[in-house]
């Protein structure tokens, strides 16, 4: 029987997950949650706390999960909300500005660097996990979340869009702009590191 539109709100809810079922299903995603939490917080202790909070919050509200197949996305949403609450940040939803200057600088700087072996090596040395996290956390949350989800390689663009409640086109543009900002920051750091140190000889007395 085809249900009318209004019936979406009144169709029977699936039976709430039992504690055993919940832990069985949720436990599978501890790696994903921990990795995301690690990217958000930048250290293992806070990441562990954040994941534990996420599991507890999800367990308490497990009756709200209507589709068991969406456990992974649902857990991530809770984790992100917990992180935003902890960090006192609000999800940025309106990042429409497009900084063309960064785009130009990046391409030019990369072109300049691509010809220098030292500069490229400096770039690779700078791109450590710690530095990546530092630059990532400096980005607006709207870019941060998209980049984290993208690089975990666990979600499709559509799943990322659903989780962050944004259109798929916005996911793609935020990804492009987020990467652009991240890369531009690294290029600048590497360029500074590779620049020859100017030594100004001091005049000796006598």
């Amino acid at each position: 029987m085809k249900l009318p539109g209004f019936a979406a709100k009144i169709v029977p809810r699936i039976k709430s997950l039992s504690p055993q079922e919940f832990w069985h299903l949720a436990g599978r995603h501890e790696g994903l949650l921990y990795s995301s939490a690690f990217q958000y917080t930048g250290n293992r202790f806070d990441a562990e706390d954040l994941v534990q909070e996420t599991f507890l919050a999800a367990f308490r509200s497990r009756h709200q999960l209507r589709d068991r197949g969406k456990m992974k996305s649902w857990l991530f949403i809770i984790l992100r909300n917990n992180y935003l609450k902890r960090a006192g940040r609000k999800p940025n939803r309106t990042q429409n500005e497009y900084d063309d200057r960064i785009e130009y600088d990046y391409a030019e700087d990369l072109a300049a660097m691509a010809g220098q072996e030292d500069a490229l090596q400096a770039l690779e040395r700078k791109a450590t996990a710690e530095n990546v996290h530092r630059q990532l956390s400096a980005l607006p949350e709207s870019y941060q979340s998209v980049l984290i989800l993208y690089y975990l390689k666990e979600f499709t663009y559509q799943e990322i869009a659903d989780m962050l409640e944004i259109p798929i086109g916005t996911v793609m543009s935020r990804l492009a702009r987020g990467k652009q900002r991240l890369k531009a920051a690294f290029i600048k750091k590497a360029a500074r590191a590779a620049a020859p140190k100017k030594i100004i000889p001091l005049a000796r007395k006598g």
């Binding site: 019936a7 599991f55 308490r60 391409a107 984290i148």
Partner: protein
């Protein structure tokens, strides 16, 4: 695509369509400078990918969360009431309950009161169906097991309402069967309960009706049962009355 176009593609390649990407790759195959640029960018991309890949969690992370959840669920000694409360609290609770909710009083004494209760149920957004018409072949039996009375299913073939499903509910303090119907995409709620629960005389062949701002409530007797139907008023009817 020229070198400038390639540079523009390079920085926004995640937001570019497939055709542009094909052109960019074609260009870099022919242009060593742009190919070098691409290689440098890929190196950075790879470094990000390595830095943000899955990090193995500490062992037993989910297990520890589970233990915390189980510990929270257990009552702790500190939270238990003292010996004085053990004797006094149940009596106090029962006393309060009797004051606040008088079980002997039946408020179903007027059409308006019943209509209000039915309308409140109809308006609630959290009252989901316990079963759909497809799932339960014998709704009467389903309700009998839960409500202890045989629910007579009203016949709406004249009104062309489609039965969707049902659930238990209450009309005031009394249990009732809640039947969901579809009327051309609009929800119609029908509540069925024993007529003896209604404390005012109902004539057997009469249909009672009250119109609220947006809804109409109809009530009629069907053998030993009472049916209460709530539906949205037709906008055309609203404008003419």
């Amino acid at each position: 695509m020229d070198c400038n176009g390639f540079k523009r593609w390079l920085i926004s390649r995640d937001d570019c369509e497939g055709n542009l990407t094909r052109q960019a790759h074609k260009h870099r195959e022919d242009c060593p400078d742009c190919n070098q640029l691409y290689t440098a960018d890929e190196g950075l991309e790879q470094a990000f990918s390595n830095s943000m890949r899955m990090t193995p969690p500490p062992s037993g992370l989910a297990r520890r969360a589970r233990q915390r959840a189980e510990a929270e669920a257990r009552p702790t000694g500190a939270k238990r009431p003292g010996w004085l409360w053990k004797g006094f609290a149940p009596a106090l609770a029962i006393g309060l309950l009797l004051v606040v909710w008088n079980p002997w009083a039946n408020p179903l004494t007027s059409l308006e009161t019943i209509g209000n209760f039915a309308l409140a149920n109809h308006s609630r957004t959290d009252m989901t169906m316990a079963f759909t018409a497809d799932e339960i072949p014998d709704p009467q039996e389903w309700f009998y097991q839960r409500l202890n009375f045989r629910v007579a299913m009203p016949n709406f073939s004249q009104r062309q309402l489609t039965f969707l499903g049902g659930r238990e509910c209450t009309i005031g303090p009394k249990k009732a069967a809640y039947l969901y119907y579809d009327d051309n995409g609009k929800r119609v709620s029908v509540f069925v309960m024993p007529a003896r629960q209604i404390k005012f005389p109902l004539q057997a062949e009469r249909r009672y009706r009250i119109d609220a701002i947006q809804y109409s409530v109809e009530l009629w007797k069907m053998d030993a049962m009472v049916c209460i139907l709530v539906q949205e008023l037709n906008p055309d009817t609203l404008s003419t009355t």
